[in-house]
Amino acid sequence: MENNQVRFRDSFKNRHFERNDSWLKIILIYLLLLIMCVVTVYPMLNILSVALRPADNLFQMNLQIVPDNYTLENFRRAIFEIDLLLWIRNSLIISILTAVIAVCFSASAGYAFSRYRFAGRKTGMMMFLVTQMFPGPMLLLPMYILLVKLGLVNQFLGLLVPYTATAVPFSVWMMKGYFDTIPKSLEESAYIDGASPFMTFYRIILPLAKPALAITFLFGFMSAWSEYIVAKVILTKPEVLTLPVGLVSMQGQFNTQWGVYSAAALITSIPVVILFISLSRYLVGGLTLGGVKG
């Protein structure tokens, strides 16, 4: 009987933990990870806590998450009294367009880099990598002047182009890394059946690359959804503001708007956090492939 229990305990341990770890070590690992989790989760809970406070009690001096007299008043005001819905609409339009364009462009470029050998291939790939080294403001300033001259200030198109340009390079590398893992024999057999290169790419390879496409979409969407600096420079009219510009403009110093801001911040970040986390299982694979396989 006792022997059985010991055996059960051991098999439980072997199934769920490293074989050679002592219980002390396992507890220590959990402790460390849990402390880090508290550190990562707390700021989000902090927003929640502020969002739930009534306007006359914003500045409380304790660490309670749910205040005693909690209220959803801030959420109501965030939705109905400020332009939150307008900002969300603007941001949604720009983010979805950015993501879709980034997916199309980087999928096709990544495919060419992965499948074909051609003059300028190496240089081309390097160029996409080096673009990551350009400092934002360095591009921002000439870009701003260019957009002023083209009359694209205060227009969605004026944001769409720079956003796509920032999302594309990283995505090209990621897509290429993923295509590298798809066996070439699939295309060869399609060619033998008489399919054109484009049909092969579109009908056979793309459906297989869905995880990478999802990650690229996610990155494109998130980069546009949370971009603040470019939008702040290019958008000045209230009716075209995107979420980040709108929200930051709300948060001056500590004032009564703080609760409303927090509610709005939660409303805008929770959907992206969920989207990000639900796609994160593809993330480990996607990034490594891009890195390791070059």
Partner: protein
Amino acid sequence: MSGNNSATMAPLPKKKRYNKNLAVSRWTPYRYILPAFIVMALMVFYPLGYGIYLSMTDMSLATFKNPNFIGLGNYVKLFQEAAFLRTFGRTIVWTIVNVFFHVTIGLFLAVLLNRKLLGKGILRVLLIIPWAVPQYIVALTWRGMLNNQFGAINIFLQKIGFSAVPWLTNPSWTFVGAILTNIWLGFPFMMMISLGGLQSIDKEFYEAAEIDGASGIQQFRNITLPLLKPVLAPAIVLGTVWTFNMLNVILIIAGGFGNEKTQILVTEVYRLAFNFYRYGYAAAYSVVIFLILLIFGMTFMKRTQGLEEVR
């Protein structure tokens, strides 16, 4: 099609190049790349060239329509400025401290998460939250938490017996606060990169090392680190570039350009261009930043041979 076609299918032996498909012409790959390239040309290469030109003019709000070409004048002025060197030094501190903690915390967590561990899926999800939340919201939230009187951090410090820290009123502390915020923001990226790298390392290496009696630390130094290098090196370059150019966090935590002691080079560019409208001078600043990063990136990649991976 003749034999001088340079566009062929990939997995061919080096000498024997031939077309699998007659429809693949020499231009096919370029057609696939063209759209991405146009966007890059429009928004990266053009501004880069224009920025370099701009840095040699005296363009400002007054001379916006017809700026004068002044050669390297802006650069001479820039390097004579004492504030430039101070800001540069601060930027280096900012970057090194941030990237160091991003990599060490990220790698450490990744090593823990790469073990067999009950419920590690949930832990991983919780640990990447900082990456998922929009940056400006993170910065604004930390600004709230750093508030001298009502911020969670000071309340916590006082609860465990320390005195309150003047995070937002003393510029040096503001800078420390910005570093804390940015460390929080950046480690999940390194964690996920490392985790991916760790998962691709063959378990047999460790089993063999164990048989030879290598300790955990020896295994980490002699197996894990060398094999992670090709993954980590590009990530560190990217991380350094991103941190060096981190505008959001500093701007929001410091609440603007209040004090020189909280500024780094990038915020200085932004301030010169969009607060003082000294476009030419700001462009010179950004060219200097770009050169610093380019030199760093190239030497780092060469040292670690990260680019060897580019086939």
